[in-house]
Symmetry: C2
DNA sequence: ATTCTGGATTTTGGATACAGAATCCTTTGT
DNA sequence: ACAAAGGATTCTGTATCCAAAATCCAGAAT
């Protein structure tokens, strides 16, 4: 049995704020205070305070020297930046994973789930399985830093819009197959290159929609 | 006049804990509690709590599923990991900076400071100026994410030991010159490559001492 | 009218308080 | 002797409280 994880108030605040920023409820440059948010979300200032701190690291908020906090909406430049860095880091993670991974059981398993989702044209399931696929590779890389950074990156961008996903599910899935094949061959170099181009391609597709 | 920045208790706790981990006062695997640290540093649990959260992202602490926090000392594998990632990120930062930077005044200035420190064999001054040099490049890259990640990386490793620095000051300085030259020519590609090999070389030197 | 000044107001950082979760430890039953 | 139960203890997460910092605003001085 896997332990049930209950979300802390802080994490819930983080999630709520991210959503609000992504869907435009909180606009770029807008100034927000701890108390204001605390009141809206019906928690005390303390979890909000910590959430602000976390979101600042993700680049979604900015504390000015006056201590006031302003919202940093997602710009096109941001998205390019996000994908450029992610391509490098996930490439590195894939290379490390290909070198270290002796046990690809989990990854093969997830791959099958993706397969199913693609065939069923089930976008929601696909999104979940896809994230799972990537996160598993990070984990296989066995680098805390890579995991931490990629986690921050992944959370810092709006979830892939459904329209984008349906369009590219097939493409992405076949790229995943190639990556998996590189893993089976323990081919570090190929794993890195394939992962990087996989993400660079996503970047282009994402930008088209944005 | 530049505004005076005063450190928050949280930041001081972060710094103290880092030091304690680096010099071995807190050993790998040791379990620490918020209250214990708060008592030692003579602050309340609140800043300690936030410091734990921050240090976890840097990879120096680990919160277990039980909520207990344990110390993750720096291993050789960690150092390799650190430098590998840093090489990529600083390479990217250098490339972006070379593309965007119109004004190299600050960087040239800092370069002269380094020059002075090298000639005077002044290790302390060198260390400060060197960090300044790198940070300035990150800033010129104009990417919040790169800055944030590199900041986390830079803080997560013990400061370069004095012995290491004296030995390699000259080498590093001449590498800096080459990087600066690439900037003057706005040569993205060269900037990235030179920065990457600069850091890969540091990695080797650091590992020799560790 | 514009700038300056000093107090009222807001907001933050940090301390303290309290309830619930996790762990420890003693007791009880077999 | 050993395992299970359950109460005491420890520790964390969140709420509340307080003092210091920042901002705002009205009136005085130029």
């Amino acid at each position: 049995m896997k332990p049930i994880e209950k979300k802390s108030a802080r994490d819930q605040v983080i999630i709520s704020l991210r959503k609000a920023i992504f869907n435009g409820d909180l606009k770029n440059g807008e100034e927000i205070t701890q108390e204001e948010i605390a009141k809206i979300l019906n928690v005390s200032r303390m979890p909000v305070r910590e959430a602000f701190y976390a979101l600042e690291r993700e680049g979604l908020l900015l504390t000015q020297q006056n201590r006031r906090v302003i919202v940093k909406g997602v710009t096109e430049e941001d998205i390019k930046d996000h994908y450029d860095i992610r391509a490098m880091l996930e490439g590195e993670a894939a290379a490390k994973a290909a070198r270290l991974a002796t046990d690809l059981k989990d990854l093969e398993e997830i791959n099958k789930e993706i397969e199913k989702a693609v065939q069923a044209r089930n976008t929601d399931e696909y999104i979940v399985a896809n994230e799972h696929f990537h996160r598993t590779i990070w984990k296989l890389s066995n680098s805390v830093r890579l995991q931490s950074f990629l986690d921050q990156l992944w959370s810092g961008l709006p979830p892939h819009l459904a329209e984008m996903v349906t369009e590219q599910m097939g493409k992405a899935h076949s790229e995943h197959q190639d990556i998996l094949e590189a893993f089976r061959n323990r081919d570090e170099h190929a794993a890195r290159e394939l992962m990087m181009s996989h993400i660079k391609r996503s970047k282009i597709d994402f930008l088209k929609i944005f």
